[in-house]
């Protein structure tokens, strides 16, 4: 399929990560009494951003990187032998 799924996943999680980080930095610390004093928005936002960026890099390499042409060729060859 023409679209590498890792790109939209990466974009979504990077976006969500950035949103949570910014909100975590700006929000009132008293908000986090509920989450046992941990600023979960900031912490989890960082985790989501890292995951998102890794997915974007993998997806980018998969779609436009040097290995993708080769992989594509191998996949289509596999399809032909099956039919």
């Amino acid at each position: 399929m023409g679209l590498d799924i890792r790109l939209p996943i990466g974009m979504l999680f990077a976006t969500l990560g950035v949103l949570l980080i910014v909100f975590g930095l700006l929000s009132n610390p008293s908000l986090y009494a509920q989450s046992l004093g941990v600023n979960v928005n900031l912490d989890w936002g960082v985790a989501l951003l890292v995951f998102g960026v890794v997915m974007l890099l993998l997806g980018w390499r998969g779609m436009f990187g040097p290995r993708s042409k080769q992989a594509e060729a191998a996949a289509s060859a596999g399809r032909e032998t099956r039919h």
Binding site: P8, I9, M11, F23, S27, S35, R79
Partner: protein, 598 residues
């Protein structure tokens, strides 16, 4: 509920991506193979995550948390006994026939292997079932939106009546799923399922982490809930010494063998994901890759239920008074699990001992509200919505395929062009959703009808695995044998159900509607044994009738039956890519988890 702009932004971003994926994939949908089988081009890991995500519907996230609160870690049997072994089996042994036969659906495999009537029976019962499952998902989602008061504030602001919230929940979820499947077909459903998989994981990890931190970790759970909650095998020798009310044999045979293999190995909803894989090797790896995260899902979806029961009660009363609009917490609740309240009288529902019943379905939602501040709350709710939508989308894609290939094409309009069937798939998506909406409203009006339908489906499904097992591994099995076997299996299930009753239940929908000749210690035990009876009857009758009827032509069974099919070549694969090795590793890890949490 105190939702702020950040929560709404997070939900909006998610919905934009869901629909965006459908739009981005639209240009690739040129043939019916693209639409119904994702062009058979999905990499193994993507198909694998979609494989579990399609099953990760409402009953998994809310239901497994509810069972965790009710039964404790015993609920893990639904994974470590009732899922993983079957997933390994379908990948290692059955996928070569599904993928290799070039069948486009499970009913179509039945036509190739047996005959038209066996396929018709399976196609019609399966299509009906998917519609109702998707309807129930929709209903549960709208109900949750209502119970958690998610839309109350915005509705108030725009002056809309609160009674529309339920309808809005149903319509919006239906339209979103419709748009992305209509545009991008199975590829779109699979891509969104993978997205939803990661979202659910992302939403639940912080929940479990905060919850465990608060109750003092696993040891804290142990000391506050007692041993019956934290052991999965201790007490399984007798139904009266464990929370499930089932003994080990009924559990392993009924759940672990008949029900689990029947679902994971023959349900087109999940098998379709593997059929979309880009090669035979990928198709076989799909359920195995799915089994890896599935193995650890109990920690994500069951543990919150236990945590909700163990949270010190003081915080419950605080939550009830400070967070306005939170689900009503009757004083008789346990931890974060409130007592069930009768919606008409407003009084707590009591069991026959006069003790209030708990509303376990609210365990997970209440835990979210308890620990997640605004921001993360948006993410948590998005994860819940994602789980409902992936369950629904899985059913709708399975429906449009079975409808088009197994009902419309053979019985209504054979021999039309590929473009026509592609169009039909899109139309089927629309009326599949419309019918699901009708199913959702049926559920609101007639609770009993839904219970009854689910029961009938259970009767239909229980014998199915016997048919597939014989069909794939015994070349002498005939079409007449399979058909009569299936019908007798279903009849056996109905008769067994009609003759038995769980303890403390009244004869009727719970069983005993013919006469009560045996009483089971729990409803679950009755379900498992109904399945065992149905399977055994189907197995025996299929063999008998097959031996009495004319043997099938062996030349037509190549690629469909084990002994007549060339074994897949895997010499070029590395050891960790080979299904057999992968399967052994997975089973070993599962055994280890069972031992650790025995």
């Amino acid at each position: 509920m105190g939702l702020t702009s950040i929560d709404w932004i997070i939900m909006a971003v998610y919905f934009a991506f869901v629909v965006g994926i459908g739009v981005a994939l639209k240009r690739y949908m040129k043939t019916s193979t693209d639409f119904f089988l994702a062009g058979r081009s999905i990499p193994a890991w993507v198909a694998g995550l979609a494989f579990i995500s399609a099953n990760l519907g409402a009953q998994e996230v809310i239901g497994m948390g509810a069972s965790g609160a009710k039964y404790g870690i015993l609920t893990s049997h639904f994974y470590w006994v009732g899922a993983i072994p079957a997933m390994v089996f379908v990948g290692v042994f059955m996928m070569p026939f599904y993928y290799g036969s070039r069948a486009r659906s499970v009913p179509e495999y039945l036509r190739l292997r047996f005959d038209e009537k066996t396929r018709g029976l399976n196609a019609i019962s399966f299509a009906t079932m998917t519609i109702f499952s998707s309807g129930i998902s929709m209903y549960a989602m709208a109900k949750l939106i209502q119970t958690l008061h998610i839309l109350d504030a915005p509705f108030k602001r725009f002056g809309l009546p609160q009674s529309w919230i339920f309808h809005t929940g149903i319509i919006v979820s239906g339209v979103v799923v419709l748009v992305y499947i209509y545009l991008g077909g199975l590829t779109s459903a699979i891509y969104n399922e993978v997205l939803q998989f990661f979202l659910i994981v992302a939403g639940f990890i912080p929940l479990v982490w905060l919850g465990l931190k608060n109750v003092g970790g696993w040891n804290g759970l142990k000391s506050s809930l007692g041993p019956s909650y934290v052991h999965s095998w201790v007490g399984m020798s007798n139904p009266h010494t464990n929370r499930l009310g089932v003994e080990w044999f009924g559990l392993v045979m009924g759940l672990g063998f008949v029900l689990s293999f029947g679902y994971w190995c023959t349900d087109f909803l999940v098998v379709q994901r593997a059929m979309a894989a880009d090669s035979m090797a990928s198709a076989r790896r799909t359920p195995l890759i799915a089994a890896l995260p599935k193995m650890f899902f109990p920690f994500l979806v069951i543990l919150p239920g236990l945590i909700a029961m163990a949270v010190p009660t003081q915080s419950v009363t605080q939550l009830g008074t400070t967070a306005q609009g939170t689900a009503i917490l009757a004083p008789a609740g346990h931890g974060l699990v409130p007592a069930k309240v009768d919606p008409t009288s407003g009084q707590p529902v009591l069991d026959k001992d006069g003790k209030p019943q708990l509303d376990y379905d609210l365990a997970v939602p209440n835990l979210l509200l308890r620990y997640f501040p605004t921001g993360l709350l948006g993410l948590g709710l998005t994860a819940l919505l994602a789980s409902f939508m992936s369950g629904m989308a899985g059913n709708v894609t399975a429906f449009n395929t079975v409808w088009t290939h197994d009902i419309y094409e053979p019985y209504i309009r054979p021999g039309a062009s590929d473009a026509h069937y592609l169009m039909m798939g899109r139309v089927a998506t629309i009326f599949g959703i419309v019918l699901s909406i009708a199913g959702a409203y049926l559920a609101t009006r007639f609770n009993n009808i839904m219970d009854m339908l689910q029961l009938v489906f259970a009767f239909v499904n229980a014998p199915l695995f016997a048919t597939f097992l014989l069909g794939m591994f015994w070349k002498r099995t005939t079409g007449h044998g399979a058909f009569v076997g299936l019908l007798s299996g279903t009849a056996a299930a109905a008769v067994h159900h009609g003759l038995t009753l769980p303890e403390e239940a009244i004869a009727g929908i719970k069983g005993g509607w013919i006469a009560t000749i045996h009483t089971y210690p729990s409803e679950m035990a009755q379900n498992f044994w109904t399945a065992i009876f149905a399977w055994t009857t189907c197995f025996v009758v299929t063999i008998l009738i097959s031996l009495l009827t004319k043997a099938p032509d062996e030349s037509k069974l190549v690629g469909l039956v084990y002994s007549l099919t060339e074994k897949p070549q895997e010499g070029h694969l590395r050891w960790y890519q080979r299904p057999v090795y992968l399967g052994i590793v997975i089973l070993g890890m599962t055994a280890l988890l069972n031992i650790i949490f025995r």
